[in-house]
């Protein structure tokens, strides 16, 4: 991990978050990891069609927020959104089924891996055009503010997204209206194949721009689930109480390529290895053991997670492809797609 960022990195405060929360954070990271690995396996078996964008290595961010959020809060994320959607409680079979284009998929096979959504769980969509969902998240936050519900919108996006116009508009808009929205930049050092530092005028693409919106500059270790959880709690609760938006930059790394087609050859030798040492799961497991949690407890969590992933895989595999009749459904609220009489 880039050592220069320590300057700004908020160290996880020495608050004891309690064993229950810790186990919850571990469980969630394991779920996200195992399910994502399964997605990769299914892709190798040619069962995942289209594209898919894994977030292996980035689980601590999704988990930290997933545990911190209230059930009625809202998540907005990108094509790299499997983990964020699962972290809100969407079913694994719904996610894997969608990747495989099956009826049991969250979107019935219509949306595909880049658009995972589970409104009932507060997962308000995955957006595949860079930047577009930032203003949308602001809009949801506006609605919470308007109705006084104390709901918060959390919006995840990548480092590369900080250079597109919609980022700027959404940040200013949210700051001026003091909206309860948390913008979380997952800085994994790369756009698709291009290192972010080669195309960005500042070192920290998000944090170094916070002041342009009157916001605090926040860099956090995105591979540390405790740090992510505490950061999430702090700014979500502040937003809930009317304190306005936050922009958080979480430093992390993706273990695999940008998308299924990408072997990630553009990365300098040794970089991945360095980051594998900082694998969020590995680090968190070690920490919990050091804190005296029994290995067997963690083993159980892992085994249970694997069982769930297996069951979800079976469900998804057994699910039929969408029916051709579905094609014309749900363009409009009346359930159909008629544009003429």
């Amino acid at each position: 991990m880039d050592t220069n960022v320590k300057r700004k990195k908020k160290e996880a405060p020495a608050i004891d978050i309690g064993q229950e929360t810790k186990l919850e954070l571990y469980r969630m990271q394991v779920d996200l990891r195992y399910c994502e690995k399964r997605a990769y396996d299914l892709f190798l078996q040619n069962l995942v069609k289209g594209t898919s964008h894994l977030s292996l290595g980035q689980e601590a961010i999704a988990a930290g927020f997933g545990v911190a959020m209230r059930p009625d809060d809202w998540t907005f994320c990108t094509y790299r959104g499997h983990a964020h959607t699962l972290a809100r409680g969407a079913s694994m079979s719904g996610v894997l089924g969608e990747l495989m284009g099956r009826q049991c998929g969250l979107l019935g096979g219509k949306g595909g891996s880049m658009h995972l959504t589970d409104v009932a769980k507060g997962a308000m969509g995955s957006y595949a055009i860079i930047g577009a969902h930032l203003p949308v998240a602001a809009g949801a936050a506006w609605s919470a503010q308007y109705r006084g519900t104390e709901q918060v919108a959390v919006c995840f996006f990548g480092d590369g997204t900080t250079n597109i116009g919609a980022f700027h508009e959404a940040l200013n808009f949210s700051a001026v209206w003091k909206l309860p929205v948390i913008f979380v930049c997952e800085n994994n050092l790369y756009m698709e194949y291009t290192p972010i530092h080669t195309v960005t005028a500042v070192k920290h693409p998000a944090a170094d721009r916070a002041s342009a919106y009157g916001l605090e500059s926040i860099v956090v270790d995105g591979n540390d689930a405790d740090a992510m959880y505490l950061t999430a709690m702090k700014y979500i609760e502040r937003a809930r109480k009317g304190g306005g938006p936050a922009l958080i930059e979480a430093m992390t790394y993706r273990h695999s390529g940008h998308s299924r087609a990408d072997p990630g050859k553009y990365r300098p030798e040794g970089e991945l290895d360095k980051w594998l040492e900082r694998d969020p799961l590995k680090m968190y497991r070690e920490r919990l053991l050091k804190q005296g949690i029994a290995g067997a407890t963690l083993d159980d969590i892992e085994a249970e997670s694997m069982r769930q992933v297996d069951a979800a895989t079976a469900t998804a595999k057994a699910s039929p492809p969408p029916s051709i009749d579905d094609i014309e459904k749900n363009v409009w609220a009346d359930g159909g797609s008629a544009w003429r009489n």
């Binding site: 949306g111 959504t117 809009g139 919470a144 508009e169």
Partner: protein, 325 residues
């Protein structure tokens, strides 16, 4: 019935819906304190307060994104994009996000929102502030498209748009803002997807939209009086949903179709209607389908040039005389 301007009918329609439903909110640039650059929203801030009627930064993507996010979480926002030309700076929100989200999420997300925008020519504002871009919108699956020609339709269709569970792009015609007309008092809600036959003739069916409706009517009156050519005039009102049945029926009666479009020629809405008629009404046609459009050029600003570019009553008369007689 009161006589209102097209402009005042906008404010009346919005006010009617805001009074009815407190989830209706309204945002845009200079729409609140200033009452809109076309003065179409004067009085709304005073009536409904700054929580419901909000001025925004110059951030069209944020405006539409905010409307979208609010709509999917229970509000019914009305967003103003000041000039329809500016839809280009937030086209992603319209074409890729708002229009597609219900379908992509297999119906999980509803987006009951309205985007109002001032469309069209006649103000000598030049190529970036005078476009008629209703055809851009019609080309996008998943968004409804309305363009009223009369003050009463402004109020009634705007109310219908706000109540509609789907996103609606509502084109107000700049050149009609000061036009006056009878508008029903009290609650008034029209129906989207319905065309209106404004006069019936036997020689040819003219299909027109927004400002072109008035020119078509004038041309039809002139043709009847001076040349004995009698025309049906259909006001399309709504491009999506499209009232194809009314159009096909009226073309079948006269055997001829003329479309009058303000949008530049290529891929205009008239082409779509022409293609429907050339397929489904072919055997009823007595002669070629004629499209009268603005030429396929950016719009010039000088009076003479702008006037010449947009289909005029004279041009409609001339083309119909040449091609239909």
């Amino acid at each position: 019935m009161a006589e209102l301007t097209y402009r005042d009918a906008v404010a009346a329609g919005i006010a009617q819906e805001m009074e009815r439903d407190e989830n209706v909110v309204f945002l845009g640039e200079d729409i609140a304190a200033a009452g809109g650059v076309f003065k179409a929203t004067v009085g709304l801030l005073e009536k409904f307060g700054p929580k419901r009627v909000r001025d925004t930064p110059i951030s069209e993507q944020a405006i539409l994104g905010a409307a979208m996010g609010a709509a999917m979480t229970g509000l019914r926002p009305i967003a103003e994009i000041m000039f329809s030309d500016f839809l280009a700076v937030c086209w992603d929100l319209v074409a890729n996000e708002i229009a597609k989200t219900r379908y992509m999420t297999n119906g999980q997300i509803s987006l009951p929102l309205v985007i109002r925008t001032a469309n069209g020519s006649g103000s000598r504002f030049g190529a970036q502030h005078s476009q008629a871009v209703e055809n851009w919108a019609m080309a996008i699956p998943g968004i409804k498209v309305v363009a009223p020609a009369f003050p009463a339709d402004v109020k009634g269709l705007l109310a219908a748009a706000v109540r509609d569970p789907d996103p609606v792009l509502f084109f107000e015609q700049k050149s009609l803002y000061s036009m006056k007309g009878e508008v029903p008092d009290g609650e008034y809600v029209d129906e989207l997807g319905t065309a209106r036959v404004l006069r019936r003739g036997k020689d040819c069916t003219i299909v027109a939209l927004a400002s072109m409706v008035h020119r078509a009517l004038d041309a039809a009156a002139f043709l009847e009086k001076e040349h004995g050519i009698s025309c049906t005039v259909v006001d399309v009102r709504s491009l999506v949903p499209l009232d194809t049945q009314t159009i096909l029926a009226e073309v079948a009666l006269t055997g001829r179709l003329v479309t009058v479009e303000e949008n530049p020629r290529l891929c205009g809405w008239g082409a779509e209607i022409a293609s429907i008629v050339a397929d489904e009404c072919f055997w009823n046609l007595d002669g070629p389908i004629v499209r009268i459009t603005t030429p396929h050029i950016p719009l010039p600003s000088a009076d003479e040039l702008e006037d010449h570019a947009i289909p005029s009553v004279e041009r409609i008369v001339r083309e119909i005389r040449e091609k239909i007689d």
